[in-house]
């Protein structure tokens, strides 16, 4: 429907919407995060949910203690290789639709501990990440910005058609393989189905 006509109608007190808009509006304004933190970034996440930054303004203050009730996974902190299978399993146990925010340098790349023997170099090796937040730690404003970005993306999702989101397509998996503890590293060290880093060529 023509947006000009819609705003004209709205001025006369007539609200026209589509099922799609209603659906996305409801979902994007009640993103319930899964309540867990992995390291220092979690403190900023907690601060964001408290009165000063007040994540409740965006409908995302209901931190759920169970993945069955959560829509959003905020990976806040360092993902150690010992913790990675648990994070992936929690993601798998969330009900569709589900979204992931990788918060902080550690969660997106390993951050300051990149060269550590036990730190995963980015959680997007195993689960699809929707929004990355750089920073060490990112300020609560950055988390709020990421949440708003995610809300915007949800509002633009379409219900039908070839570009509908992952959770509405039967060919996309609902869970991803959980890595196993191997003798030297996690097995597999990454999930090539979802992790496609751009190739970087450097002079050798």
């Amino acid at each position: 429907m023509d947006p000009g006509l819609r705003s004209e109608l709205q001025r006369h007190g007539i609200f026209v919407t589509t099922l799609e808009q209603l659906y996305n509006w409801g979902r994007s304004n009640s993103l319930w995060p899964l309540g867990f933190g992995l390291a220092c970034c979690a403190i900023e996440m907690i601060a964001a949910s408290m009165a000063r930054y007040d994540l409740a303004r965006f409908g995302a203050e209901v931190f759920r203690p169970s993945p069955r009730q959560a829509d959003l996974m905020i990976v806040a902190g360092t993902v150690t290789k010992k913790m990675a299978p648990q994070v992936v399993r929690l993601y798998n146990q969330m009900a569709e639709p589900k979204y992931v925010i990788a918060m902080g340098a550690c969660a997106i790349s390993g951050g300051p501990f990149k060269q550590g023997y036990n730190v995963l170099k980015g959680i997007d090796r195993y689960i699809p990440v929707d929004v990355h937040i750089p920073g060490c730690p990112p300020r609560p404003e950055a988390l709020i910005h990421a949440l708003m970005t995610l809300q915007q993306r949800i509002a633009e999702e379409s219900l039908t058609g070839p570009d509908r989101p992952r959770h509405l397509r039967p060919d996309q998996p609902g869970e991803y393989p959980v890595p196993e503890f191997g003798p030297h590293d996690l097995v597999p060290p990454k999930n090539p189905e979802i992790w496609h880093p751009p190739a970087i060529r450097r002079p050798a």
Partner: protein
């Protein structure tokens, strides 16, 4: 705290057969330490804890150190007969000091308020003689830290109540803090590397795609490291 020399002498008197050396520390802190032989370490530890003048009742820290094989060159003066004439010549000799693992304990006394006393133990080598006595029966606070030393350095503590890996998972086979540890090569994507990470990213690239033609035009958007 009484001087280290007198502590050592009293240990030698109290624990017959013990071999205790003072390892000097040349740095400004001058924190010299006692090197104990593993066979008598437990008795020495008990003495340090129970002696009324010392009373080291708190072990604050257990550390592991990995010493690799080291080539030592030293100059020796030898007398040689050269052309029937006896002369003194300087000769360089090389020998290899075998590597070992070392465990360092820092002891304090809460009752007498002194410390730290630094205690060291060394293993025979880095491969098969890596057993040391656990001091957990003497100081309970050693338990987790000895587990950590076992996890990261591979020192096996005998008499430890619960010797399992603590940071890495069971089934992990390497000892990541040893100097010859080879980490898994997962530097696939390093957009802004510098220092060692740049090195590792470059090495990964040469390992994965060794046949990149030299001088070929880099694709747009690529970064140079």
């Amino acid at each position: 705290m009484e001087p280290l020399e007198s502590i050592r002498d009293r240990i030698l008197a109290a624990v017959p057969g013990a071999r205790v050396e003072i390892v000097p520390n040349p740095s400004p802190s001058g924190q010299h330490s006692l090197l104990v032989d593993p066979e008598h370490a437990l008795a020495v530890a008990r003495f340090l804890r129970d002696d009324p003048a010392l009373r080291f009742d708190y072990c604050s820290n257990v550390t592991g150190v990995d010493w690799l094989d080291k080539e030592i060159t030293e100059k020796v003066r030898v007398r040689l007969r050269i052309e029937g004439e006896e002369r003194e010549v300087e000769e360089t000799r090389k020998h290899i000091r075998p590597g070992y693992l070392e465990v360092v304990y820092h002891l304090y006394s809460m009752t007498l308020r002194h410390g730290p006393l630094v205690l060291r133990m060394r293993t025979g080598n880095r491969t098969d003689q890596v057993r040391l006595p656990s001091l957990t029966p003497v100081w309970r606070s050693c338990e987790f830290q000895e587990r950590e030393v076992y996890d990261l350095f591979g020192v096996v503590f005998e008499g430890h109540p619960d010797l399992r890996r603590i940071l890495m998972w069971d089934g992990f086979q390497d000892y990541p803090m040893r100097k010859d540890y080879v980490e898994p090569d997962d530097y696939e994507y390093e957009p802004t590397p510098h220092g060692i990470v740049a090195e590792k990213a470059r090495r990964h690239q040469t390992l994965v795609e060794p046949k990149t033609p030299p001088g070929s035009a880099a694709p747009p958007g690529s970064t140079t490291g």
